[in-house]
Symmetry: C2
Subunit: 349 residues, 2 copies
DNA sequence: GAGGTCATTGTGAGCGCTAACAATTCATGG
DNA sequence: CCATGAATTGTTAGCGCTCACAATGACCTC
């Protein structure tokens, strides 16, 4: 760090100082075995002294590997996508890769295409698309790029390689939990129609009810926001006393709105209506009442999807066939059980 | 797109197909003026036909510009940092830059140093550090790197160039609003001690009270989480009837906890105690009651900080002197005014 | 019609690194 | 004491692009 030339030192500079060839410096940097310890030490010293760092562009040009991955994320601060993003970066860094991100406001063929091009121009070797909207999955299938693309959050609909939490199972856990608590039926406030994960949760909820011999009521729709949950909650409140005793809400934020609407309508949770959410955001423990919900392990999602993408880059896995499912987990809180233990009523049917 | 050679086409390939020199292709790509329209069209056609894309590594090597910026973010899903991250990427992309992110779990000299090295190895031309913790600011000042670093979220303490929302002003807006509503004094639930923004909010709150001739009570401490807000709320509930009528909480999530604790203690908001939060997260409108809070415009933060960083990279701005302040905004909701209009009581003093 | 100017295009030399191969050193055994 | 091969080091040629400069040709002007 003693010098301060206008241009950063090159490998040749280090080689000169160490009295070796640039190739030997390269070997030291690359942990090549056939270098004498003494030489290695000499080179290391020169590197330290000059504060030398390998030029990544030159390296990338020579090796044809940039060691950079791209991530396309929706421009959102939703808990799921944000958590996934961090988990992805961490997993990628552990493998020595840099992560470049592009955030898009809407997931359409155009925006996705632009995002992929931007990343492509940045030289990424592969891309993870956090693409929860169904349109995005279709767009992704359509957009061929010279590098592999792995989707995350696409639910069951992935025609592209993907890693996903098993949403169907998550919905089953939530719905089954309510049925096991003695509820005759379970209503559902679903997420946006074009989100595959929302559709999968609907399917899991519906299947669980049908297997229990219950005709599923018409699901309500929200847009993930507390406001939409609030609106739906007002509607749901009107059904209390007419068979509505339990609601499975497709995410925690909407559940927050539902809880508020119910409270305002004089409906008690969970005594009158039990509520289950989805995601287990940090706040859900502090809702009134604390929310029973389904937890997704985003850290695992990150690791598995990065592993899959690297496999694809190395050509270890046939593209198009790789689908990874990750198990979610039910977290029981006061919004379904007001007291310590469940009613213990056997499920109907 | 018709060919599919093992290696992607190079500029020379395109040149050959178009019947020109590689340099002419380069000129077309670079929008150089002195190219005949006919030639340009010919080249464009060849580019299309081969699906050619410039190799970014080669370009970076030749120009010594990677057109990549780095961002260091705390591994968090807090609303502020997440919003900032997206805003930064958008602003950078608008300037033609790619953004590489590194997320760290803790902001220490070691983790920051590693993060900067990782980005440095990725060839970034500059870095934005989302560094709200005071320790991070110090660490940043200590860590010299061969590229400029701009801090965001460092509040007033930046010894490095930075762009920040004026936290002092935000706290004044919140506190002044409560005083203007007739409250004799305002309590404060602060954020973590080592967050500079938290300290700035404390300072703004304290200054406002002192200017009104009020002795500030001892501030309480939280860690931004709803749980810590809940705990503090329980403590605050004990002071109701002994002079506590208004609380300024340093973020919305803690305010959520405070609201719940107050409610459980039989304290009504805002009739017994008025509460103001900070951030204006999307959920705060749906708290019980809807939360009065201070909104920060992260999109502006993103644009201004990227602009500053690019100035620094181009050498347009002397390093170390650049500090940008952005104005926050008060959003009034039911947690301070139960009815349509404020009490209209004149502030004391 | 010679000389000059301008627009347009081409040529050659790197950018800093790695990969392949060539050269050297060194220990070892016959 | 030299041949033999392994260990170690050096040399050369690109990777695909941009930059500086040279070359070409069209079009004027006097």
């Amino acid at each position: 760090m003693t010098h301060s030339p206008l241009r950063p030192p090159t490998m040749a500079d280090v080689a000169r100082l160490a009295g070796v060839s640039h190739q030997t410096v390269s070997r030291v940097l690359g942990d090549h075995p056939n270098v004498r310890d003494e030489t290695r030490a000499k080179v290391q010293r020169a590197i330290e002294e000059m504060g030398y760092r390998r030029n990544s562009s030159a390296r990338a040009l020579a090796t044809r590997r940039t060691r950079t991955l791209g991530v396309v994320a929706s421009n959102t601060t939703l808990y799921g996508p944000a958590s996934t993003l961090f988990a992805l970066e961490e997993a990628a860094r552990a493998e020595g890769y840099l992560v470049s991100t592009v955030s898009v406001r809407k997931l359409t063929v155009e925006t996705l295409s632009e995002a992929l091009d931007h990343l492509s121009d940045g030289g990424v070797e592969g891309v993870i698309a956090i693409a929860p909207q169904r349109s995005a999955v279709e767009a992704l299938a359509e957009l061929r790029r010279p590098f592999p693309v792995v989707a995350v959050g696409t639910g069951s609909a992935s025609t592209v390689p993907s890693a996903n939490v098993d949403q169907h199972l998550g919905a089953r856990l939530a719905t089954g939990h309510l049925l096991a608590a003695g509820h005759r039926t379970v209503w559902h406030l679903a997420g946006p129609e074009d989100w595959q994960e929302a559709a999968d949760r609907v399917a899991g909820w519906r299947a669980t009810l049908e297997e229990a011999g219950v005709e599923p009521p018409m699901p309500l729709r929200g847009d993930w926001s507390p406001l939409s949950g609030y609106r739906a909650g007002q509607e749901l409140a009107g059904w209390v006393g007419r068979g509505l005793t339990a609601v499975f809400v497709a995410n925690d934020q909407m559940a927050l709105g539902v809880l508020r609407a119910l409270r305002e309508a004089g409906v008690r949770t969970p005594q009158d209506v039990a509520v289950v959410g989805y995601d287990d955001i940090p706040e859900s423990e502090f809702f009134a009442p604390p929310l029973t919900t389904v937890r997704q392990d985003f850290s695992t999602v990150g690791q598995r999807s990065i592993a899959l993408l690297l496999d694809l880059i190395e050509g270890r896995t046939p593209s198009g066939t790789a689908q990874i499912a990750i198990e979610p987990q039910l977290v029981v809180r006061a919004s379904t059980y007001p007291y310590a233990s469940p009613p213990g009523t056997a499920p109907p049917g």
